[in-house]
Symmetry: C2
């Protein structure tokens, strides 16, 4: 049992100076830009990175609202691999301030499987999110200024799709009217803010492979249309250079460490619904050029996170996961078997077995569609019973699927050794390259149908009025070869969060689509996706404090 909070555990462990952590990966001190003693940006030439290691993707079944602990498992697995003598590095997303102050729970792992310095990582870190916020908002200011200053590009203010952003849970800014107060204050129009992690700049930086590539992506960002319907891009308002300047450090990966001193690249973090939900391509490639095994994760369940990791990140960057860890929990499986949230603490093997259908579908996708070796990791929670855990193991054994019990939250790397051994055995076999869910050359509509049917298990896809026209227009305007990024609930394989387990015979509803030209994908909305969260009735911020000498409490 752990009676310490995450921050108490983090503070109880003495960190290594980051230069020593970098040495484990043979990074030269001169390639480090220090941010204090325990954080550094790694300044390698992104064009000259040679892949050396194997890539392990950690994903999960459809989660409960409390999450499945993918980050914690990723960190514990990496520490366990290090304990087994494998030269390992992590590649993880970095947290956003919104959730930190909104709900209790950061994105730096938990218990004895954390990346540190956790306070810094969960707060301003090396300023990447602030830089993205500034870059995003400079674009908005330049766009509105162009309209204000005589509107030489003939921009129609009603067509502006570029939103401002803020790294905060602030629902008051979701829908606003800006530009009020007279002629000198801009042009009145409907407007709104997103949280920074949901911004297209975040996705764009994550997928950029170098400064040159970033500038090309920035140039093609779509901001609005002219009164005669032509696209207005960032290059049209001459903002590419200035925005790239603001992002020059943000695209360099950050190096930190786990509590057990495993090197960890923690770099950028886009949403996993309207974007692709994983850390930067540059961080993953940097890690792969230095370590023998790189453990990375993708947001939400495998239907969202792993699908986008493969069909977007791998497709656009040439990466391929050599093995996949599918995280499941007793809690979530019971939830999929129909148990109410309040009763998840009670043993219920029958419901759990019913819920295994959800796990089964994800295994089929990983092995059948993407052709990846997979191991299931049972993430241990305190109230799980032996009978419940055994039921999961029996199920996997019967199907010939590797399965391991992992208790890294309570035990750190020690609790992940069984999983590490399973991963090591999977990595011994050279795997064939990843298969994508669909090929580049089919229509955007066919791509959406392909994901819906093959991955989600839908029997049909329904498009809202106008969506088919928008898809055709996107193809006409040159975006037909893009992969698709479907935004839907993470709680179900379907677009209805109440359909748990393995829903069948359902129709997926595509309500709207939008080209993210900087990122290089087409976003399709299967549901109301909130891109600016709100604070809860009692925000986590209310319980936080810092002493006069600087000791933080209540952060986690």
């Amino acid at each position: 049992m752990i009676s310490m909070t995450d921050i108490e555990i983090a503070n109880s462990v003495k960190m290594e100076e980051i230069g020593k952590i970098a040495k484990k990966l043979d990074i030269d001190e001169s390639d480090l830009e220090l941010y204090g003693r325990y954080k550094a940006k790694v300044n390698l030439d992104s064009n000259s990175l040679k892949k050396k290691g194997k890539l392990v993707l950690v994903t999960a079944i459809n989660p409960t609202p409390a999450g499945e602990g993918k980050t914690t498992i990723s960190i514990g697995l990496a520490d366990a691999l290090s304990r087994r003598g494998v030269k390992t590095a992590l590649a993880l997303r970095e947290p956003s301030l919104g959730p930190v102050f909104g709900v209790k729970g950061g994105a730096a792992g938990g218990g004895w499987a954390q990346v540190v310095p956790m306070e810094d990582i969960n707060l301003h870190f090396t300023g990447d999110l602030h830089a993205i916020t500034a870059a995003n908002n400079l674009i908005a200011a330049l766009l509105d200024n162009s309209i204000m200053q005589g509107n030489p590009l003939n921009i129609d203010p009603r067509t502006i799709t570029w939103k401002r952003c803020m790294d905060m849970n602030d629902r008051q800014l979701r829908a606003i009217i800006s530009g009020l107060g007279g002629k000198s204050n801009g042009t009145p129009r409907e407007d709104g803010f997103q949280i920074t992690a949901a911004s297209e700049i975040m996705a764009t930086c994550c997928l950029a492979s170098s400064m040159a590539d970033l500038k090309e992506r920035l140039a093609r960002l779509i901001l609005a249309r002219t009164y005669d319907g032509k696209l207005v891009k960032l290059s049209d308002i001459k903002g590419v250079g200035a925005v790239a300047i603001l992002l020059k450090d943000a695209i360099k990966p950050n190096l930190v460490q786990t509590l057990e001193k495993t090197p960890a690249f923690v770099h950028l973090g886009p949403f996993a619904n309207i974007a692709h939900g994983c850390n930067s391509v540059i961080a993953t490639k940097t890690a792969l050029s230095l370590a023998d095994v790189v453990v990375t994760e993708a947001g939400f369940g495998a239907d969202l996170g792993a699908e986008k990791f493969i069909d977007i990140k791998c497709r656009l960057s040439g990466l391929s996961p050599d093995a996949i860890v599918l995280v499941a929990s007793v809690r979530a499986l019971k939830y999929h078997g129909g148990v109410k949230k309040e009763e998840l603490g009670e043993e219920n093997v029958e419901a759990l077995i019913k819920g295994l259908k959800n796990l089964e579908k994800h295994i089929e996708n990983i092995k059948g569609v993407w052709k990846r070796p997979v191991t299931v990791a049972i993430n241990h929670f305190t109230l799980d019973t032996q009978a419940e855990t055994a039921a999961i193991k029996d199920f996997c054994n019967a199907k010939g699927i590797n399965v391991s019990f992992a208790d890294v939250w309570a035990k750190g790397g020690e609790g992940g050794l069984e999983l590490a051994d399973s991963v090591i055995s999977l990595l011994k076999n050279d795997s064939e390259p990843v298969s994508f869910t669909y090929s580049d050359d089919i229509t955007l509509k066919a791509k959406l149908e392909s994901v819906a049917k093959k991955i989600y298990g839908a029997s049909a896809v329904e498009f809202a009025p106008g969506v088919i026209t928008k898809l055709k227009k996107a193809e006409e305007e040159g975006y037909g070869s893009y992969p698709v990024c479907i935004a839907k609930t993470q709680y179900s394989l379907s677009d209805d969060q109440k359909k748990l387990g393995r829903p069948e015979g359902f129709t997926l509803h595509i309500r709207d689509v939008r080209v993210s030209a900087g990122a290089g994908f087409l976003v399709a909305y299967a549901g109301d996706i909130m891109t600016m969260p709100g604070l809860s009735k009692v925000p986590a911020a209310n319980g936080m404090d810092i002493s006069d000498s600087g000791t933080i409490t209540g952060l986690f």
Copy 2:
């Protein structure tokens, strides 16, 4: 003649590692938190700082729209003092991104008198402004969330005075309606953004002497009123701890260097109209505990910057300037003598002599009201003639005022030696403590009248309807002992920017007042003060670029 741009000059000089710069002030490496090789936060216990050095304040006559070059003179003076063997440190404000992308001109000096690394200082630096933005906006989100979640404090949304902020020139956000789109999106209300430098959090951080003091100041921030008229403070919405956590690093001073390797504390930068316009108290006190002479500056002309430096910063912190440098330029004096902007490049001794009235009034204030030793620095601009410079010297000599010619933009510290010698001679005499313009115990109205009459030279003060009532209410609510912070145009001693020279017999109009309880002063608005600038027709951002290998052009 200089044919290089500021950024080219900055890049042509090899910097010292910041650890070596710190050694010049006997700062131990263990007290530095490095941000890359050339920037560090200095982590001294702010409660244990002992004053060791003498403080030199650089201020100016009322400027032309192009500015008088106070920062450049401050840097050149510090370098000249270093050349004379004096252990010198600078204490300067840090720049805001808004002006960087808006107009050509940063806040890191110019020519051969710059602080470096200028790109970093002018961009994200060590993240202080981003932290202030986040802290400010967390308060706004917590406040609106409290109203959203049943409004237990009975807050009247129409009375909210706390604005969100952004470090950007973005006029589109000056006046907005937020909270639109239905019940789940907050409460519709009139709202608006300020630029971060204009936020009360900026002023509050600047005046805080320690984390304990910061928390006390944050607790008393005024956000709104209840429906029955009571003040709603940050402590009421339980936000003090979380906001202080966001600011924990931002209140630590940043150490960088000049091109000539003089240590420079560049830390925080509030507006000089609605706030007090100088760097943090912690940075000034840190510098004074380490160096024998500290050169600092205050924004705009001496009527705004020096007055607030003395009546606000010195009063609240116990600091006192041992000498004042009053920067004047041939250009500005001709401007005060009635020459049009377009003709300032032509010799006009007659107009210049007429304009000396402006200089005269500032000298009278410094010597007569504040009882400070003063030296006038003539900041050389390329087109100035010898006859013009001689006229200023003659004027000062006739009045028995020290005067020096300074050409630090073209020559660095070498061009500031005459000024340095003048300052050294002033500092030889122990000066009496500074005299304030008014005492704490007179009414707020009397304080405003005192500044208007004694410093600006007004013959009367007119208060808009309701202002007197607000002043009385502020006194009833416990803010009567606060100093006052008058926001007015920087171009004139009066509140009318067209009244150049030394206006007399004018009435100052106070349109509104507002208590800044975190900063600890009463803001009085003598004119329309823009707290969110806009971008110009051709923003500086349009001309910026960064090469694939990271070389920045067009930043300055």
